[in-house]
Symmetry: C3
Subunit: 502 residues, 3 copies
């Protein structure tokens, strides 16, 4: 019976594939034989992604055609394309069969060696420069920067560890791997492990597929089965891989919206965000280069941080996939804002206290590991160049003066909180480093974390993008000051309680 | 003077109604005489809803035409239409004059017997199957499931009851009915009571209208004047009744966005939500069946839970208006996640402690009242079928393994909180069931509620839709663990305070 | 070298300006000589805003043409236009060179006297009525109402003041001006100070520009260099000045989304918000007058509060830029909801306790300073007229009955919180007015602020727009009742702690 289904499906496939009326597809464009074979069945078994791909630029252009475009309009950065790829559209086989020897997830599938996880190393065949830039990106190292940093591991355990309450005592357990994959590493990226092969019943009979640990995942620092880091699909979702999606702020909001990194929330209530949301229907999100005033009239996240922006005949900003190329300050995820680390791998950093943190506990940056004033100025300047397309020098200066001040004041408000915490440890109201205890498991410690991870971050983002209330009542300065008071009250109550307890 | 206005208006009406240029309307389609009379005046007195209706499919099709469509493309599920309805477009009279004998809100209006509240029982004339399915929906029972459950009534009172502070004591009063209608029952639905008739001055002279209690309301479990339950307008807003609106996630977000049920918030930051928000301008939200890959390239709420989804020639998922047909777990609104209740009327449930809750206070489901493993597996399978249009079996399995784990761990984190609460009651730090006191009125009790109603829910939704930060810092595991610590600290402070107070 | 660049740029300019293909622009419309000169260079140095302007109505119409439209369709309210302005399109020079004598920020720029900050007084040349209305708007006075009210200044200091922790004590410093500009005054508006001139290096050689304090800013109550109040660009962003943007709710959300004023959040989850977000792509946001049912089928913020709304041939609501013309109650930003103040300048108000607040500390409005019942009824009626385009009298009455009740109950819940606070002051658990201390710096005081500024506000907005969960679990009644309990617990713990401390 299964064989009859298979035969029927196969016949239908042959008829359907290139006839599909009304369906966007590679009209007249050369499709590789291997890809045609993939489409034969996947048009039936996974119609959604095939239709998505048919709509994509990949399905409508061959790399050799793409290379003929003027340099500024080109979406491909490789100058030379591997043999066999350049004359056909970029279909299933062109990506899923690339570099088979390097992929631990390569398996035999209908007489093809294919791999499940397409990686930046695969995309580099055509998008070399972007992949190289991205590899120097702090985001590409998001897995290791979290997993291999003992301080952050302790924070992670305090969040994900299963807790139980018995005989008046709260006990913090360890986190299981499914929970980890389902929380921090959704954004940071998982390590994809190939655990073997598994027999699966399909419409085409029994087939073997790899068993992958940490899968699915599209986090920015994913460790891939070929050893590469990152997932282009974090921002360019399969299988349309649309530049439009990546340029819209919803892409960034997947990971940059929560209280720990409310960038998108700030953008939403900024003037830029307002204009974007009101007028985006009239903009061109596909044009390369992206022309200010013509294609869009207010920036999205991509405009300021990534895209190749131009005005008539002049480049306003070069495209970059090292996302901090235009950023001097590192504003979030850390105890104190500080100049960006020199290396995207932040696990190498050590401060005077021996902790893998880019600042001391009192806020001073560890100079050896962060960019110097000259590099910081260069990055600030690159960013400000983008602003000039619409704003005067005075406007830009006035705006960024506030960000500088905000970095200073939020760091000071974090310092005040740190001092309360240090006193709590000293007085024995809480147990910290000196007592060999976690610095993240008690209420005052959690309030300290919220001081920098939530409120200081939010305030700084609000300054960076003029997002008003995110810097005041929506998780900003109101909360910075309220939280400080709550910390001192907690310390008072706990110290009294402990004294009486004795 | 009023009569002159009336005469003038009437004349204008006659001229205007079918001449209105540029206005979408029933060009050439037969309109019933009764509806034409309604339009005569309402075009003037309520132009917004008339214009809305003119744009609707109801205004442009007769049921008999609609019945001629191939079954899969049909938007009407009734096979036979009541006499008098099938040959005219679905206008004012066709709905507001249906089943007059059953409607307590029927009144004489310009020589017609009309009723104010059009109900699912009215809509069933043409949409029989959907109304039947919806009636078996837990949402259709949302009024009674809240109003007739003493535990939830106590929670409601603790929220809506007016409090006063006199001589050092906080007193919790009862909630007035306007406040109830304005809070819980906006979503759950009110009971619409017909209180009599009232003389009203209008442009057409004195007229009588029914006085309705609990009105306006469009909650999902509204108790209607004809005894039926629910409001189709919860999701299909008047008077365009557009399938497009119902398929967009903003409809669901009306009630499913707050911290108690942050489904939409999770969707927004999921990959699916990103693609939807970036690309929706290019999708077809009106097509029936809804073809994956062609009409849309990422699911909305409706895709996974309700819509008839198809790929070329094949049904991926049958349409259902019993919203938990594709859901095994009930994730929210309850102390512990558990398999869905068998009956949509949850007031019949009793656990071992005699409480109307589908789980024990320690988390075990009350087997007798919840679906069995086989039914749960069947529903899970139906949901996963939708995923297969774009995702491999391994992807889907990996995804749902995390949800299963998340159900387990969040239930355990709720159990830990429950144990702290039980100890607080035992130690006399708070008063609970044994003391005949509300279990929702003290700080530790409210924190316990937030543990399951806010943070466990949010974490589970984040797992169900890969919504990252909603499972961590945006109301997720960070808050689950922080809240537990705050509960134990509160217990410590309160116990000490009570001891000293004695 | 710089001169060569300049010469080259100038030549290119001359060629480019009126030839720019594909660029929206003033085809055939008369551009003033002065504006043409501006465009010569700014097309190059600030291409974004020039392109934005080319797309604007300002670039495509002359005031004299605009005056020829039927009155109801007119976007200009001035009947007579100053000489020299009426025959040319509204370009750079027409606004930036207006009223030079009144502008302290006027400076010599390429042989023109131009000013940086275009103000409502400038816009009044063509939009006289709107500017007059806006000047009577509480929003126009947002700077002074905050800056010159000692109570709010104390609140501001408690939020923005830098805090330090030394020897077990938290000290609250004063706020620096950059922080103020970057927080409260982003929305309230800054005072723009002209501090002198500054030499700046540009592509055209050294040039002088004014140095402005409090710049940039687009807050609603900005104090401008010509003494006028407000910024039309708060809602009509430069340089397209699109009515479409102002009519979309994202504009209002810039300042009305945070927990202190969650109007947009409520709108988002309301039925109106759902329909807007689902259907806005099919609406006409540019039509004047704005025709209900034709141009839109659900209201945005502007529809109910500002816009000229019409149905065929009849005005439903007159346009107003005094935003509380249709509002009886003032719902937010104050301790108790109360009828709107008579004067937009609220600094003149004094209650019995001598505080500049429109209510007593126990909630009674200070009758002398708030509108009377008749005026309130008139405003309520104007608002309800808008509703009638789609809703019946009974529907509207039922809806607003709930708002009235919600005003009453939230005021009572605030009163209960005030009583707890008064007792805390009385018992010495906190220091308040009688002790000459800030009423905003201690935890219980901050909780009191959140009672009215966050939770009571949110609940009232939810009632006003049927925004469900914002009135319950998303910052509504749940939080009102929880917060009260936390206040009494805090008072208990603190009082005990103080007692023992002695």
């Amino acid at each position: 019976m299964r064989m009859i289904v298979f035969a029927f499906v196969a016949v239908v496939c042959l008829i359907v594939v290139f006839e599909a009326a009304g369906q966007p597809g590679p009209k007249g464009k050369p499709v590789s034989e291997a890809t045609a074979e993939c489409l034969d069945c996947h048009e039936i078994v996974s119609p959604g992604i095939v239709a998505d791909w048919r709509r994509s630029r990949h399905a409508k252009t061959t790399p050799s055609e793409a290379l003929k475009k003027p340099k500024l309009e080109r979406r491909m950065s490789s100058e030379k394309i591997p043999d066999g790829l350049s004359g056909v559209v970029v279909g299933c086989a062109e990506c899923h069969k690339l570099n088979p020897g390097k992929h631990k997830d390569t398996f035999e599938h209908s007489e093809h060696k294919v791999h499940v996880v397409v990686t930046p190393a695969d995309c580099a065949a055509c998008h070399k420069v972007e992949v190289e830039q991205y590899s120097k990106n702090i985001m590409a190292h998001a897995y290791g920067n979290l997993k291999n940093n003992p301080v952050f591991q302790s924070l992670e355990k305090s969040i994900n560890g299963l807790q139980s309450y018995e005989s008046g005592k709260l006990t913090e357990g360890t986190a299981d791997s499914l929970t980890s994959e389902d929380s921090c590493y959704v954004c940071h990226g998982t390590r994809i492990l190939v655990k073997g092969l598994k027999e699966v019943e399909t419409d085409f009979g029994e087939m073997q597929f790899p068993v992958l640990g940490g899968w699915p995942n599209q986090g920015t620092g994913r460790i891939n089965p070929d050893g590469s880091m990152g997932a282009c699909t974090s921002c360019h979702p399969r299988h349309e891989f649309s530049i439009e999606v990546a340029r819209k702020p919803y892409t960034c909001s997947q990971c940059h919206k929560g209280p720990d990194v409310p960038a998108y929330k700030v953008y939403e209530v900024s003037k830029h965000g307002n204009i974007y949301k009101s007028m985006d229907g009239k903009w061109d999100f596909d044009a390369v280069p992206w022309k200010v005033g013509r294609d869009f009239t207010a920036p999205t996240c991509a405009t300021c941080h990534i895209s190749l922006v131009a005005s008539d005949g002049e480049v306003v900003a070069q495209r970059t996939h090292r996302m901090n190329d235009r950023l001097g300050w590192r504003l979030f995820g850390v105890v104190y804002a500080h100049p960006h680390p020199k290396s995207p791998d932040t696990t190498k950093i050590k401060n005077k206290a021996g902790l893998p943190l880019p600042t001391e506990l009192t806020g001073e940056p560890v100079q050896e590991f962060v960019i110097d004033a000259e590099e910081k100025a260069k990055r600030d300047k690159t960013m400000r160049k983008v602003c000039t397309a619409c704003h005067s020098a005075a406007w830009i200066e006035g705006h960024f003066d506030r960000l500088e001040k905000s970095v200073e004041t939020t760091n000071k408000m974090t310092l005040a909180a740190t001092k309360v915490l240090l006193e709590a440890w000293e007085k024995g109201a809480a147990k910290g480093l000196a007592q060999g205890d976690s610095i993240f498991n008690e209420v005052i410690e959690k309030k300290w974390v919220e001081q920098w991870l939530f409120y200081a971050n939010s305030t700084r983002f609000a300054s960076a993008m003029a997002g008003a209330d995110l810097g005041v009542f929506a998780g900003g300065r109101w909360h910075l000051s309220r939280n400080l008071r709550e910390m001192t009250d907690w310390l008072e109550f706990k110290a009294k309680s402990n004294k009486e307890g004795k």
